[in-house]
Each structure stands twice: as structure tokens, then as C-alpha cells.
Subunit: 108 residues, 2 copies
């Protein structure tokens, strides 16, 4: 049990376009209740709620109860892992590095 027990994989959480749209929305507005979020989607409330639950499992979202509504707020921190991961591959697309490396190896 590692600090907040992040159950759901971050990669998995951001794989779904709906979930990415949710993160986008929460980045713009800072805090939003479920019913207000739901308006911007075609699917029903239950579905949106499930997606948010998944984001919460991945610790990408925090909740706060205010009266009868549940307010959602973005927590971008876990996305660092993605950035770390992807930046490893940066060298491979910059300046066609792959092709260059191959040429060097053939030369040698």
C-alpha cells in the first residue's frame, strides 16, 4: 500500500478519449459538480460518473462534497509518470536519430 494506493494505471486512465476530455474540462474550470460536467457529454450521468471514478482511482482527480453535490477537481501530478516515460523516446524521433544510429553502426 503505497501512499493513496493508486489502483488504476495512469496509462490506462488516459487511454479513453472521454476521460481525456474530462481532464481538459477540469483543467479549465478548477472545480465542477457531476451534474454540470454531465451536460457536456452525450452519455448519461452514470457513465460520466464511472469515468470520473476511474480517474479518481488513478489519482488524477480529487473530490469534495458540497451539500448534495460532489465537486471534482484535477490533480495532474500522476501525469509526471507519463511525461517521464515518453521523454525517454524523445531521442528516437528527433533528427531521425534511429536512422543515424544505424548508419553509424554500419560504418563502424
Amino acid at each position: 500500500m503505497n501512499e493513496k494506493s493508486q489502483v488504476r494505471d495512469v496509462y490506462d486512465a488516459i487511454a479513453d478519449p472521454t476521460r481525456r476530455k474530462l481532464l481538459q474540462m477540469l483543467a479549465d474550470v478548477e472545480e465542477l459538480p457531476l451534474h454540470e460536467i454531465t451536460v457536456h457529454f452525450q452519455m448519461g450521468r452514470t457513465a460520466v460518473s464511472k469515468h470520473l471514478a476511474i480517474l479518481k482511482d488513478a489519482d488524477l482527480v480529487m473530490t469534495r462534497k458540497v451539500g448534495r453535490e460532489t465537486r471534482y477537481r484535477l490533480n495532474a501530478t500522476p501525469l509526471q509518470e507519463i511525461q517521464d516515460w515518453v521523454s525517454f523516446y524523445e531521442g528516437f524521433w528527433k533528427e531521425r536519430f534511429g536512422k543515424l544510429k544505424l548508419l553509424l553502426e554500419e560504418k563502424q
Copy 2:
């Protein structure tokens, strides 16, 4: 039809840990035939082949036939999209930006 008709979503392609391990391997070795890749996994050849097919659909991998074997090679370019996407959220985890912004708003 947009240049190579990238069917599979890149986010989806990298969501699976097996697929990420595959990319990792191809980053190290530059080119590998299927049977040699398969050795490093517990699952059967068919499963590995399917994962590679998914990576190919996302244009993250290129293939080349040499004799009876199919050699796989990394193409990292599509990962730029991920990096672009994630870097948008960079500001939200640096210096606890979210909390700071909230404090400022409350002050005002």
C-alpha cells in the same frame, strides 16, 4: 485517409504494459524478429504477434520481411502526440500550481 491511415489510437496502444515493454525492447535493439521477441514473454507467440499488430496499427512499429522471419523495428514519431498532450498539464503539477491559484482567488 490521413497519411498511413493510423487506425489505432496511440494512447490506446501504449495503455498496455506488454506493449510498453515491447517498445522498450525495440528501443534497445533496433530490429528483432518475432520469435526472438517472444522468448522474453510468458505468453505465446500469437499473443505477442497481436500486440505487435496493434503497435503497427498505431504506427509505432515498422516491419520488414527477411527470409521466413518478420523483423520489427521501433518508430517513435507518434509518441510526439503524447508528449504534446501531457506537456499541457505540466504547469499543473509544477510548484503545486493548482493550490497556489486557488489561494490567489480566495485572497482576491
